[in-house]
């Protein structure tokens, strides 16, 4: 793919920020790994060879009877009986962590939460579920939630800010008053009310958070558009005969984009923090979902099991720090006046 000189320059600037570049690589690798969480941490084998046939339990359910068992229900491969049947006639290839985020380890030597052991590398939580497995799934969920929420609120925020700033006048006045009233609504209470009416799922939670998070960027983008709409090069573009939409997207938006992009890591980490804190309070995702906030809550409740709190803290702090470093590098990349020795 051929890059324009501008984008080549941006890429060079991005790479010149070593810390941000390395953070991006780490974050990218973690994201990629967590996308394949089912192959990393699962309570079913990746591959089963049974009587010469191949089965892929990660992707499909097989009844127990397939492997010579008694019941017509999906096979539980952690059951010693089923495992014994399969191992007699074939082999199983397990993921490195033999637990999914909901798998309860019934073979604990001590009452849950159990400290780290060769079975549960980061110990188990209060219900006997593997912490590492929950961490991997929770990381994926948090990042996906944060990314979708941040991108959506950025898009809405940019469009709203652009319209207000570029057209100004009455449009701007009415819109601004609306936002002031809107952001005065108590977000947390609305969330509590909503979660008492419906069980909040991934998308209902996101929709409710989005209702309020889009205003974060409006003021910045609006200010940039207000400033830029009287720039000489914007007036020159008008004299060239460009349409309003073209001027906004070509000449004014790039100015606002730096502000937006500078804000993006904060919005992203804010979104993740919002989800984490809602889970922490028990208002977030339905019970049983893998989430970093729920891990932190358990850490708070179970101070005698420090592996819970420490794991949660390191995961959240690390994720948020990485995002900020990436954001710094992105900001450098879009800065037209940035010069490097």
């Amino acid at each position: 793919m051929a890059l324009s000189p501008l984008n080549r320059r941006r890429l060079a600037n991005f790479k010149a920020n070593r810390r941000g570049y390395v953070s991006t690589l780490i974050l990218g690798a973690l994201l990629l790994l967590s996308l394949f969480a089912e192959f990393l941490a699962n309570d079913r084998p990746i591959l089963v060879q049974y009587k010469g046939d191949l089965f892929v339990p990660v992707l499909r359910d097989y009844p127990e009877t397939t492997f010579g068992g008694d019941f017509d229900t999906p096979a539980n491969y952690r059951d010693p009986l089923v495992a014994g049947l399969i191992n007699q006639e074939g082999r199983m290839i397990w993921p490195p962590i033999r637990f999914s985020y909901q798998t309860i380890n019934f073979d604990l030597a001590v009452p849950a939460p159990a400290p780290p052991s060769s079975d549960n590398w980061l110990g188990t939580d209060e219900q006997g579920r593997d912490v590492l497995a929950r961490l991997i799934y929770g990381f994926r969920l948090s990042l996906a939630f944060g990314l979708i929420l941040a991108v959506a609120s950025t898009l809405i925020g940019i469009v709203a800010g652009a319209v207000q700033g570029y057209f100004g006048g009455l449009t701007d006045l009415l819109f601004q008053r609306f936002i002031e009233i809107w952001s005065g609504l108590p977000q947390l209470f609305i969330l509590i009310i909503v979660s008492s009416i419906v069980v909040p799922g991934f998308f209902t939670l996101m929709a409710v958070l989005l209702l309020f998070s889009w205003t974060a960027l409006v003021s910045v983008v609006r200010a940039e558009f207000l400033r830029a709409r009287n720039f000489d090069y914007v007036r020159a573009a008008r004299a060239l005969g460009m349409s309003d939409v073209a001027i906004m997207s070509r000449h004014v938006l790039p100015n606002a984009l730096v502000a937006a992009v500078t804000f993006l890591p904060f919005i992203l980490s804010g979104s993740i923090a919002a989800l984490t804190s809602l889970d922490f309070l028990g208002l977030g995702l339905p019970p049983g979902s893998a989430s970093l906030g729920e891990l932190l809550r358990q850490g708070k409740d179970q101070l005698q099991a420090p592996w819970l709190g420490i794991t949660g803290f390191v995961a959240v702090a690390g994720l948020l720090s990485l995002l900020i470093f990436v954001g710094e590098a992105v900001r450098d990349a879009f800065d037209p006046r940035k010069t490097f020795k």
Partner: protein, 542 residues
């Protein structure tokens, strides 16, 4: 023989360290006696302001350093002097006036307090004594009705009045030396003449030495006894005014003196009328009260007739606020305007912005500030070709050829098309802006002060370029400027505007050679001879 008041010896100024170090001043020496007036003249980047600021030790130390040199003021070396010593000198013995009167006064304090502040710091006068002295000072700098103006806020004053207040502040403690850094550059020509006159009079009456920094040779001739010509951090020539101007020894001085736009012979006679505006009006409503009722109008342009002819230049001259830029914007339908406008015989005044779009390519515009007129995020190639893309003219290959042709027309290298605006100088950027407008092959080009942000020698190049392009493409220019020397070099016909109305119009030779209107006369003498108009003719300052 006594020692001079100020002696600068082999002064150097360096910013930064190591490889990035920039030598702004590379060893300049000059001396200034009591009561003498010395001008430092040079183009931007020549180090003249940095030299002046080092006398007051106002540079951003320690990033700025003086590798060599000394500045002896009143028998003491101020280089490296401690803060206490400098506080005693600044304001007290050396006063300074800066270029931009809009930002050098604190907008939140009344002017009486700002002038009085110096007295409060440096003298033991009581409140009543300070008040009396402030009134005396404001009267001295010619601010009418000074007693009642002590509580005036800076935004209530015009640029010229603010500069007078700045001068009053600088003079408060009867300094031995007044440093004036481009004090008139931001002002209108008639005000400029008044301020120059004031400075000269004050200098004579108070026996001050004056260090006058400017880029404008014409001012030097009007105010200074001696002149130092600076280039790239060095003084290339210094001496008495008469000697330097009449017998310059250095090439650069000769170049500067010669680099004034040459008046041209205006063309007369018939030519095709390209853009005609009749009874053009741009009124901005003044709204008051809860329901924003329209109570009146600011008549920025009020009933102006203009005709632009192919291959000819119409110069629009006026001071700031006269409505000359608004006239151009209204004529090109870039702002809302009333009145008949006809482009190539077709009425365009009733058209909406969308139906106007096809006509846009025939009317283009070049702005004053070459730094703001180009999108800093686009490359030279993208900026110039943008108009073609907007109007969908030609294939990609044809567009490329046209861009290269246009770049050659304005004297830019076509290999530069991947560069960004910040990599170009002011003059080059103005060429890019011209290329952007020119590539659509317009019939009308509005030039809004295209040279006033540029150095003198660059101004001449741009004027020459504009003249050549006009001859090549038969362009009609609407040339808006406050600088009569440039207008004289460009215009065939002239309109003199004041307060939104035409004061005088006609062929350039008639208007400039034999002005009939008293305002025109005052403007011409202020601009071309730096003479102050007789009292009453120019009532713009107060």
């Amino acid at each position: 023989m006594t020692a001079p008041l100020l002696e600068v010896k082999d002064l150097a100024v360096r910013f930064g360290d190591g490889e990035d170090a920039v030598d702004a001043v590379k060893g300049v020496s000059f001396a200034l006696d009591r009561g003498e007036s010395l001008a430092l003249v040079g183009e931007s980047g020549s180090g003249k302001s940095v030299t002046a600021l080092s006398i007051l030790q106002l540079l951003p130390y320690p990033r700025a350093r003086h590798p060599t040199g000394s500045i002896i003021f009143g028998g003491r070396d101020v280089v490296g002097a401690d803060v206490g010593t400098m506080t005693g000198i600044r304001g007290n013995r050396i006063g300074m006036v800066f270029q931009e009167p809009m930002t050098s006064l604190n907008p939140l304090h009344p002017i009486g307090k700002q002038v009085g502040e110096v007295l409060e710091l440096h003298t033991d006068l009581d409140a009543a004594g300070r008040r009396a002295r402030v009134i005396e000072l404001l009267q001295r700098v010619g601010l009418a009705d000074a007693e009642h103006r002590l509580l005036t806020m800076p935004h209530e004053l015009s640029g010229g009045q603010r500069q007078r207040v700045m001068i009053a502040t600088a003079l408060a403690l009867k300094p031995d030396l007044l440093i004036a850094d481009e004090p008139t550059t931001a002002l209108d020509v008639t005000i400029q003449a008044q301020i120059l006159h004031l400075l000269k009079e004050l200098q004579r009456d108070l026996g001050m030495a004056l260090l006058f920094i400017t880029h404008d040779l014409a001012l030097v001739r009007a105010i200074a006894d001696r002149v130092c010509v600076m280039k790239d951090g060095l003084i290339v020539e210094q001496g008495p005014i008469a000697k330097v101007f009449n017998h310059p020894t250095h090439d650069y001085t000769r170049h500067l003196i010669a680099a004034q736009p040459k008046p041209k012979a205006p063309r007369t006679g018939e030519a095709e009328a390209v853009l005609v505006g009749k009874n053009l009006r741009v009124w901005f409503p003044i709204r008051r009260g809860l329901i924003r009722r329209v109570v009146g109008h600011i008549k920025a342009v009020d009933g102006v007739d203009v005709t632009l002819r192919a291959g000819r230049t119409l110069g629009v001259v006026g001071e700031s606020g006269s409505g000359k830029t608004t006239l151009g914007m209204g004529l090109l339908r870039l702002i809302k305007s009333d009145g008949e406008i006809a482009l190539l015989g077709r009425r365009i005044d009733g058209l909406g912005q969308t139906s106007l779009r096809p006509y846009r390519k025939s009317m283009q515009i070049v702005f004053q500030d070459p730094f703001g007129a180009l999108n800093p995020r686009m490359t030279l190639g993208d900026i110039v070709s943008e108009g073609l893309k907007v109007h969908g003219l030609g294939t990609a290959a044809e567009q490329r050829t046209l861009v290269e042709e246009t770049l050659a027309d304005v004297g830019l290298d076509r290999s530069w098309s991947a560069r960004f605006p910040h990599e170009f100088s002011g003059g080059q950027r103005q060429r890019i802006a011209i290329a952007r407008a020119l590539i659509l092959r317009p019939r009308v080009l509005m030039l809004d002060e295209p040279t006033s942000a540029l150095d003198v020698s660059v101004q001449v190049q741009i004027v020459d370029l504009l003249r050549a392009l006009q001859d090549k493409y038969g362009l009609a220019y609407l040339f808006i400027s406050h600088d009569l020397r440039v207008v004289r070099a460009m215009a065939d016909d002239i309109i003199i505007m004041k307060d939104g109305k035409v004061r005088e119009s006609g062929p350039a030779a008639d208007v400039l050679g034999a002005p009939r209107d008293p305002y025109t006369k005052a403007l011409l003498s202020a601009a071309l001879e730096l003479k102050m108009a007789p009292e009453g003719a120019v009532v713009t300052a107060s």
